[in-house]
């Protein structure tokens, strides 16, 4: 019985969502590659790339929601994990350029030749292998989150103080990555990628595949998060969010549970970054900017924290808005974003999905007070399945 806990914890909402996502992973590439451009159903390539970007943003927002919406940890530095994942993937893509760079050096990326590097720094070793880069994408941000979280949660740093030090963390990394002698391309970052796994990174089919990979990873992340938040662990996380010290007196090691959520969340953010970089074609220190991390929090708040679908909807909607808005009035986007955050805080404190859900709950008949007594199903939980 207990081996099926992952399946058991999937609720209808998450299943429906995963089905939609997988359908998109098939439909979008088909509409782009198979349907001829003359057809009205044809999806232009720039939209495929744009949707792929949105999927990465949605993944990032989901990672924030897991810790903020469900565990009360407001990280204002999650962009750091996203960027680190992005850099690891960028390093692989740089090594793939090989002798095709401007300076034609078979080993050293262009910026190293330009900065008079004589040989490859040790931390660039191994990045010519895709599997190694994938390992680092998960390992380095996971370790950073582990060490950072261990120290912060053990010292019982909570609330705004935690938010401030996460912000300091991403700012420190921003400054470090800006330095030319840090070995990651300084101000310009990593760019001019040629191919990934032997496929031309600019090709229409590669872009469609990257989109499909992004949404499938999103579906997997929703599955993992759903299994966490719908389990007893998820309930304890919400208990920590609402009454941390009471949870301690119940015998739960709050520090460990927070650390677990923080590391899972950081890894999801890092994978989002790794998928993002090949699709936008560049990673530079600007991704560490504290403002980026704050923006993710706004997406999550707009969509509805404490729901799994909310941050995904928020991430996509706000970024679609950004795409449209910056096209028409590029100078006013930050005002619009700030205004949106204030409006949502004032009028939709539960976010879009949270508000829809509570409106729906009010309309539906109240849950019966007396639930059916234990049925014949061995071990079937009675009231332990919340709607989310």
């Amino acid at each position: 019985m207990s081996s099926h806990f992952l399946i058991r914890s999937l609720d209808r909402g998450a299943v429906a969502f995963i089905v939609v996502i997988v359908a998109l992973a098939v439909l979008v590439p088909v509409l782009n590659l198979v349907v001829p451009p003359s057809s009205a159903l044809h999806l232009p390539s720039y939209l495929v790339a744009l949707f792929g970007k949105y999927a990465c943003y949605a993944l990032l927002a989901l990672s924030i929601d897991l810790i903020w919406g469900y565990c009360g940890i407001l990280s204002l530095g999650h962009g750091a994990f996203f960027a680190l994942g992005g850099y690891a993937m960028g390093m692989y893509l740089m090594r793939q350029i090989g002798a095709r760079g401007v300076y034609g050096n078979p080993v050293l990326p262009d910026f190293m030749v330009f900065l008079n590097y004589k040989e490859l720094p040790w931390f660039w070793y191994g990045f010519d292998n895709f599997w190694f880069a994938c390992l680092i994408v998960v390992l380095v941000p996971g370790l950073l989150a582990g060490v950072f979280g261990f120290l912060a949660f053990r010292s019982r740093v909570t609330g705004v103080y935690l938010s401030i030090i996460t912000q300091a963390m991403t700012y420190a990394l921003l400054l470090a990555f800006f330095r030319n002698d840090f070995g990651f391309g300084g101000n310009n970052g990593l760019t001019d990628f040629k191919d990934i796994l032997g496929f031309n990174i600019q090709a229409q089919s590669t872009r469609a595949a990257l989109f499909a990979a992004s949404v499938i990873v999103l579906a997997v992340a929703v599955f993992v998060c759903s299994s966490i938040v719908n389990s007893k662990l998820g309930k304890v996380m919400v208990a920590i969010r609402d009454a941390e010290s009471r949870t301690r007196f119940l015998g739960y090691r709050v520090d460990n549970i927070k650390l677990f959520a923080f590391v899972v969340s950081a890894v999801i953010a890092a994978v989002a970054g790794a998928l993002y970089v090949p699709q936008v074609g560049i990673i530079n220190p600007g991704e560490f900017s504290p403002a980026n991390s704050i923006e993710v929090v706004i997406w999550t708040a707009v969509g509805g924290r404490g729901t799994l679908i909310g941050p995904i909807v928020g991430g996509i909607l706000v970024n679609a808005g950004k795409t449209l808005f910056t096209g028409a009035w590029p100078d006013y986007w930050l005002f619009a974003l700030g205004g949106l955050f204030i409006l949502v805080t004032l009028f939709l404190p539960k976010g879009i999905i949270g508000t829809i859900r509570s409106a729906f709950r009010k309309k539906s008949p109240p849950r019966p007070d007396i639930l059916p007594e234990q049925s014949g199903n061995a071990g079937a939980p009675l009231v332990t399945e919340p709607a989310e």
Partner: protein, 252 residues
């Protein structure tokens, strides 16, 4: 009292415990003993150190001085809150603290004595025994009809009862109960006294309470605390006849 052989027979053993906050002595050489399956009621004026004493037993506060032993041998001053809770010390707070965004059922399920690790909590599936135990507790605390409701929707008295139910689910050897009948009706108070007396047949219970009629209802050994140490001990009649207690707490 300092004999170690005596200590080994106790459930809770506080000896010469002192703690001060910014120069204020919250506890001053406090010594208290609770035996297995015994109930002790603690009374005393505000600021007598009752809540500080609970904080020290449950690991929230470290004493400056003195010994705190659980079950005769476990030194509680070296452990943190979670470790102490898992040893079998349950605490009910003065202000009822239940998890309001969870259902009554989930509150009990989280409290149920089960492995508390991250992965065992993640993979937890309620066994038949667990379901039966939760239903039994729901009966005891009379919340069976509300088990699917959010704890936020309960009345004050019902929250107090739910918290007592959570203590029962933890299956502790020692219960620390801080003002369990605050905000309860007279009928509820009587029921709570009955429930605590029943619990004390198999576990040790320490009750902190201001309500004298409730303490009389409990009919148990009483300690009166004042200014961080024990003023008087004995039956309620003995304690309330004590001239120092009358002067410092009851009288005036």
């Amino acid at each position: 009292m300092n004999e170690a052989s005596d200590r080994f027979k106790t459930m809770l053993y506080l000896n010469g415990v002192s703690v001060s906050f910014d120069g204020f002595k919250a506890l001053n050489n406090l010594s208290i003993i609770v035996h297995p399956n015994e109930m002790l009621a603690i009374i005393g004026p505000n600021g007598a150190g009752k809540t500080t004493m609970m904080d020290i037993i449950t690991g929230k506060t470290r004493p400056d001085d003195g010994e705190v032993f659980f079950d005769g041998k476990v030194d509680l001053t070296r452990l943190d809150e979670a470790a102490i809770a898992n040893l079998g010390v349950g605490r009910k707070f003065q202000k009822p603290t239940v998890f309001e965004s969870h259902t009554v059922w989930d509150n009990l399920e989280m409290a149920l004595r089960k492995p508390r690790g991250v992965f065992s909590t993640w993979s937890y599936v309620a066994a038949n025994d667990d379901v039966a135990r939760i239903n039994e507790i729901l009966d005891t605390i009379r919340l069976s009809a509300r088990k699917g409701d959010l704890a936020a929707g309960l009345s004050h008295g019902q929250k107090q009862w739910l918290e007592i139910g959570m203590l029962l689910a933890q299956d502790p050897k020692l219960l620390l109960v801080d003002e369990p009948v605050a905000g309860m009706t007279d009928a509820e108070t009587v029921e709570t006294a009955k429930l605590l007396k029943k619990i004390a047949q198999t576990r040790s219970v320490v009750v902190v309470e201001h309500d004298m009629s409730f303490v009389r209802e409990l009919g148990t050994r009483v300690s009166c605390l004042a200014e961080g140490s024990v003023l008087a001990e004995g039956t309620l009649d003995q304690v309330s006849a004590n001239p120092v207690v009358i002067e410092r707490y009851l009288g005036r």
